[in-house]
Symmetry: D3
Subunit: 273 residues, 6 copies
Amino acid sequence: MFSKTGIPLFEEMTWKEVADALQQTDICIIPVGAIEQHGYHLPLGTDTYIAQEIACRACSVLDKRGCKALVGPTIPYGVHPEAMHYPGSLQVMPSTLVLLLKEMCVGLQKMGFNHIILLMGHDGNVPAMQVAVQELEIENNLDVMCVNWLLPHLGDQKRLVPLDFADGHGGARETSRALSSFPDLVKMELAEPYIPSFPKKDVPCSAEPVLGGAVYRPIKVPSMAYYPDNCPGQDGDASYATAEAGDALYDALGVWLADLMVQEYELKSKEDM
Amino acid sequence: MFSKTGIPLFEEMTWKEVADALQQTDICIIPVGAIEQHGYHLPLGTDTYIAQEIACRACSVLDKRGCKALVGPTIPYGVHPEAMHYPGSLQVMPSTLVLLLKEMCVGLQKMGFNHIILLMGHDGNVPAMQVAVQELEIENNLDVMCVNWLLPHLGDQKRLVPLDFADGHGGARETSRALSSFPDLVKMELAEPYIPSFPKKDVPCSAEPVLGGAVYRPIKVPSMAYYPDNCPGQDGDASYATAEAGDALYDALGVWLADLMVQEYELKSKEDM
Amino acid sequence: MFSKTGIPLFEEMTWKEVADALQQTDICIIPVGAIEQHGYHLPLGTDTYIAQEIACRACSVLDKRGCKALVGPTIPYGVHPEAMHYPGSLQVMPSTLVLLLKEMCVGLQKMGFNHIILLMGHDGNVPAMQVAVQELEIENNLDVMCVNWLLPHLGDQKRLVPLDFADGHGGARETSRALSSFPDLVKMELAEPYIPSFPKKDVPCSAEPVLGGAVYRPIKVPSMAYYPDNCPGQDGDASYATAEAGDALYDALGVWLADLMVQEYELKSKEDM
Amino acid sequence: MFSKTGIPLFEEMTWKEVADALQQTDICIIPVGAIEQHGYHLPLGTDTYIAQEIACRACSVLDKRGCKALVGPTIPYGVHPEAMHYPGSLQVMPSTLVLLLKEMCVGLQKMGFNHIILLMGHDGNVPAMQVAVQELEIENNLDVMCVNWLLPHLGDQKRLVPLDFADGHGGARETSRALSSFPDLVKMELAEPYIPSFPKKDVPCSAEPVLGGAVYRPIKVPSMAYYPDNCPGQDGDASYATAEAGDALYDALGVWLADLMVQEYELKSKEDM
Amino acid sequence: MFSKTGIPLFEEMTWKEVADALQQTDICIIPVGAIEQHGYHLPLGTDTYIAQEIACRACSVLDKRGCKALVGPTIPYGVHPEAMHYPGSLQVMPSTLVLLLKEMCVGLQKMGFNHIILLMGHDGNVPAMQVAVQELEIENNLDVMCVNWLLPHLGDQKRLVPLDFADGHGGARETSRALSSFPDLVKMELAEPYIPSFPKKDVPCSAEPVLGGAVYRPIKVPSMAYYPDNCPGQDGDASYATAEAGDALYDALGVWLADLMVQEYELKSKEDM
Amino acid sequence: MFSKTGIPLFEEMTWKEVADALQQTDICIIPVGAIEQHGYHLPLGTDTYIAQEIACRACSVLDKRGCKALVGPTIPYGVHPEAMHYPGSLQVMPSTLVLLLKEMCVGLQKMGFNHIILLMGHDGNVPAMQVAVQELEIENNLDVMCVNWLLPHLGDQKRLVPLDFADGHGGARETSRALSSFPDLVKMELAEPYIPSFPKKDVPCSAEPVLGGAVYRPIKVPSMAYYPDNCPGQDGDASYATAEAGDALYDALGVWLADLMVQEYELKSKEDM
């Protein structure tokens, strides 16, 4: 089974298990990942695996509170034009991702899932995920929620894995999560530190929306300019990563997502009843 | 001419004026608006007109600094499922908006514009605008930037139009902008105050992304639940609006956008040269 | 307000005004224009502005007869491959125009408009407008009518603005209309006469369909061959234009369109009742 | 072989014959027909067969003048929402027809055909044919010409088959053409006269564009209202039809189309050289 | 009339004949052909004409058993990338073929046909035909059956036209069928024998699926490599063909298809009743 | 790591490992699975997991012969209208699957993979896989091969797991493969035998194409009729399954697929060089 939480992925369940779960819940979480380079030491599917684990953690937290949700089918494809000069990076067009997300959600709705979460595993997918949400509302009156955990997680990351240098894509915090949930696929011995220097931006809010800013200009996102030849393709120093830190990061994410679901869907925990 | 700044809209220019402008700049700003209800007192095209004026203000600021940009063709259509129960609200599908934005940008690129800004006039359009930006990068290697001014503008709005009650869609600040740039279309005598009460959200970052949050769930955005029958369809009290405040709000937005363009495109003002 | 007739554009109305109008009428007219070069002296949006004014004139005529119709949302994009070598000309693909027209009409139908007119502002749009009409009939059983005023207007044009040389795109008659409804955007001082010589066509009916012919071959329509380098991009001599003539031309068009609506929709004027 | 002219259809030729023809010409004519009810006596494919014969006639006329063109592949599908209440009528969506026409033309272009005519066999197809022509010009820079012979043929029809009552779809003139080129499929014994009365239209040019008018409103085109239950589905009296008249009608059409091709493509006949 | 069986094609029928037939049957067979090179001696439309005749034969067999089915509208376009280097070969994209097939079937369903057969005329069309069948089931719950007669016919072909060398595309057996049903379009005097040598394949089932194998790799299907310059474009020796053999081949195919329809649709013949 | 063969999945590799592999091979195998009910005891992702393992086995066989290929990114979605009445079954439209397959293959081609295999994991996907192959050949001149192992495997299955009753979807042989490669997801204790009785088909070749037949009629494929309420949703008796048998079945499939690749791509093993 994929996750140590004991929460199965949709694809790992039998049809009867899904049918039984539908007696208890109409919520499912679709992790939306990517096939994208993540340095010398992390697998291409890193974003997918992490999103799956976050979803499992949230379901596990809910379980303990007497609520239930499923980790719906995984979408392992993403949009990342800035990473395409690395062999192995393989993206879908945003429009295709929209189409695929819509078909999955409509299928789940027919099955009985009335509340669906599209869980971000890779930030470049958020626009397509949001378009899918809108079109599903317009065409199907379906309640789909797009969740990006990067922003709420910023504080936890700095608190749980304090570092005094830049740490992002493939860095110590992401590697910590990888060591926690899919250690067999992490090649720590190949990790090389690399701290790219990003240009300073003085104008307020000129960061990307997924980081709380207001400006989306992917053509200038870290690419060949920041990741020159022979660069491992990451931001940060993975040697600071530990499975324990990863576990703590996942815990924080799982609780946040479970809280969000309780708030949004007005779930009643056992204690409440 | 539309704008008091003296900056013409693309459609208002002759072909020769565009041809001449292309000798001096390869930047243009596409305002992306909506046809959406805005209370009893504001026209359906409010978002479009405001985005056009912000673009003109930024071009005017740049002009004074010796730089130039055009206000490209306007897209007057938007996505707003939450407003469709008001007659007059007329939306496009996000996918159609993507298609239209892409054709406009590719056409502008062929004409010589290498830097294009999609300027938000209505927040529900941001996902489609971002998808267009991605697909234009992937398919055309075109540098398009999606700009949402809501977030950077939050502080200015509170400073320039201080209010101690909720103010949003169609409220005092938006009405101020309307009074500044298209007063003939504002029917102040019909404005009625209406302050909907939104549910409190305790989970961190559970606001919408366009407001700096992490959760996109449009089906729960203010709709019939918040705007009951016989409600004017707005958040706030337009009677606090003044043209002067609107002018000051536009000024702040124009400077911010101009600064952003200088930063992103590394423009050199006259003083620098 | 855009039109001196006092008839507002859809985007200029509040939602309540649309709601009230729907108590009296279920007809609206969608002007379909273009962003296309129109010589040194007319703006790129000329076709859009003229179609808007014709629609307003027809509504004004109907108003006086006790009938009502709205000028629905404007479509400012057109198809004009023959004008694309002029900077500023910016076109949509016909298929995209079809899509946009269909979404607008379906939205208007949901709002309560059961009779919709697509009013030609640029002749190259007519095929896409007709395809939209067909698909709306087939898919939505919606009554949409595509109206091309070029043909019925030929006689009026010659009568009201007699000329003994060729006059077409951007010429004295079109400039007259511009001087009547959007004089601030006309740069008469820049106008230069240019009378292209079109090849003679002896075979009967080998003109374009929009002019009453039977042959559609846009690749041979006036283009670089007729509009050589340094040519202003027009047919005719704008110096013969006057606002008064333009006003008279609009009057004739407004009456024709109003009469057509009365005939097609079997409207009853006050006198009839 | 389909046509008595001896001109083969594209599908009837071998690849070698096409290859040889391409040494002499780069012109082909695509007949675009329909599968539509044509009264009790004419087959569903009437429009297709007639368009094929007109194309063959034109090629035959050209042949005699020392010029050459092929009758390209036939498109046997059409758009006719007004005929769908008759079993047997089977239409395509206009967008699908556009797609199919574009693929055929692009394929012919790759093969060496640089001048392609889309020949109307059914008037409801003209909008889709024109959109295809535009998109082929925009995307492929291909010279495609859409030809509607209804209008130039009006005079010849009245002269060659004089009648003092209405005659249209499935009437004496169309039946004459059928008797001339596909008599085996005409069931004269089943023909029943039916002269529907169309509403009078006083507003100038309010006829359909394909008949020289300016108004396209297919939902009001002859349909159930004019063709009531138990009506054969035609306009006119087929008993006035003769094969000889049909032959004369085809001759006139063939000469007109050949003349048009000579004019448009500046063909040189043998005598000219 | 196309077929000597006396069974008319759909396009050859009047609407009334279709209406009457619908009283007796709800089955129709759509022949799906191609415009593809077939050697020096066979027309481009060979696959279309053969599929039409097979459908007519099956209907004729059913007729004799007191059952009825129509030969629905023909699709004369196919997919054959391997034949595109021969002038005259003209293909559609598979996606376009899917779209066209779906529209035809949905139209037939509305007319009353609840059982539709897509009859293979060209093997490269089978994937698109099957996709159409699936989407029609998913979207329309329509019973469409895709039938490929190549495989069941292998034995009959060898028995009825025994040959001791390779015989395939355009060979003696296909030419026999052509001589039987459309002899006027066969140019036997131009036929040239050509026996290409295909590479031996030892791995079990590595033939194409339409021939009972498991491997689909069209880029390696006979193409320029096997059909060099100046090659007629066929497999086999047409001089062994006879109309009598073709007639026998058609008979076998007609009986097989009729038997299949009886089995699948549980038809009751007159004797059974 | 997913497979005991030690062959990693694409998503499990780092970008550098893909880059290095591209020095040795330009072949990759894309497993195409499904999310479909598989009885009470097998997970919804069964077809996906099995296709992945077959691909790994073939790569492992090639490795031993000194050749190399990658197991490309997995497509976990399938087409199975006949299984949609079971909760948990979640399908894509064939057209969407075509789109996704094409984007993946084009991306892999840009990366350097010139030979791509689409490996069937679920038979209903074969038509979409073949359409993708055709369109990739036509549009991208890319060599993609669609492989269906059901047919060549029939003999091995009967030999390695001899049974005297029907065994298919979710039966003893499929369960054996599951026990071999993903035993943790098999719930043998829940398995219930179920042997549906399929109607006898006497007409030759009237089986489905994926089983060597000629007739594709999915609406009649085992569905509610064969799988009544309270039926586990399988053909056969899983209690006869063993991991050892599954291993042997995989071995046979791996060798067959490796042999096929050697044959098709003319690979040279170490011994040959």
